[in-house]
Amino acid sequence: MAVLVVAEHDNASVKDATNKTITAALALSSDVDVLVAGLGAGAAAAAAAGIAGVRKVLHAEGAAFEQGVAEAVEGLVVPLMATYDAVLFAATATGKNAAPRIAAALDVSPISEIQEVVNATTFVRPIYAGNALETIETSDAKKVITVRTTAFAAAGAGGSASVETVTAGAPSAHVTFKGAEIVKSDRPELAGAKRVVSGGRAMGSADEFHNVIEPLADKLGAAVGASRAAVDAGYAPNDYQVGQTGKVVAPELYVAVGISGAIQHLAGMKDSKVIVAINKDADAPIFAIADYGLVADYKSAVPELMGELAKAGL
């Protein structure tokens, strides 16, 4: 069977989420092609061709692709599916936006956020915010899948695939891109970061969040996350949200500061390798899953931790 992976990229390079999606695709079939659709995305296409295991790269150009417009991706991918048995997206905002649309156009039941490939028709995916796992078997001839990237290792370098140009149709007249505000940050991207520092409602204000969580994150070279409670209270922007309704992360180190550990937050971070919790409430549920718990007020504990990290040469 032939599998198509729709790449996420910034026109210059391919995002790590795509390398992980390729690993999932290779568990389905050894015939894995990658679609790089963007604007001036030749470098990204070349980068995709260098990923181990990739058979061929399809490169399409169009402004609507750069903006991730689902209608445009549908228009490009659906005709390509005549020659593929499955299409995989990373389960990111962009992938989740486009994949179901393509599934419906193909009259296929999409399979969202797989975390394991059992065989070519059977997959494991989390439901109820990861509080249960379902193993499902599809009877659809073609498969449309999004991949929970934290569950797969990234495919490495070492490929030498060819790059083929594909022509995109006219963009949808019903959708107009008006603009984007992308937060510029020197910090790693939350979803793929090796270390994450998250703050909770205990911060009490956006200023406190900024003054406590961000310096600790920067000291650790970590991405910044937040609980839903902190986001709801306006202490942190929504795209910092870790949890059932936000981002699912699985870094090597997750530091939860002033987070009680609501089910919905735990769902988004419980697969982290090492979890540290700092909370003054010794009974907070977060301690039940933390590898290292420090029962202390973050107001004193975080500065002390910064000091100790400095001593340790960080």
């Binding site: 499902i136 991207e189 931790l305």
Partner: protein, 248 residues
Amino acid sequence: MKVLVPVKRVIDYNVKVRVKPDQTGVDLANVKMSMNPFCEIAVEEAVRLKEKGAATEIVAVSIGPQQAQETIRTALAMGADRGILIQTDDDLEPLAVAKLLKAVVAEEAPELVLMGKQAIDGDNNATGQMMAALLGWPQATFASKVEIADGKATVTREIDGGLQTLEVALPAIVTADLRLNEPRYASLPNIMKAKKKPIDVKSTGDYGVDVAPRLKVLKVTEPPKRAGGIKVESAEQLVGKLKEAGVL
């Protein structure tokens, strides 16, 4: 402008989900059920559009068991005008739901479908996008701001790394993200009033669409449990432990 708001009855988001010992699913017996939180946000947004004069009628539609009437009543108490229940005891996949909702759209001819981005049971995040494809309508998913003017919806969307603004021509599908609004609590008089609002009860057979499942659930299991660790006494000890664990 008529607004259609699909709503789903799900396990209340504060309930601890338990997997059945026979691995056939999660235990729904004697568990508190509520409107899916993202659906609530969609209802609230529709009601706000009506209060602003941008919407004239709000129709809440649910596909589910007889008790899903309660979910529709919740929407009516928040300010929806009438309801449609497509009654079924089957657990339908998003593809089937999208096909049924497409048929409802054909009958009701709304200019806007406002719905939650995902239900917190199946966590598929698919139905809105699928409906849009089946209808050939534009979509604006994960909305944190919606403005309606001149036959267009200007929608600010939550994307990775920030926000994006799209202008979609109506009719369109908009799916609600968390920050779109904070849903109201229905007042007692509005709850009483909602009891008198009409709910049309239909069956899946009324729409003549294929709702057969494509996916077979082989088993539902509990995720591996994470063992709790230790408590440390100080930041110094914590840093020592993290070094030992090789994560610093």
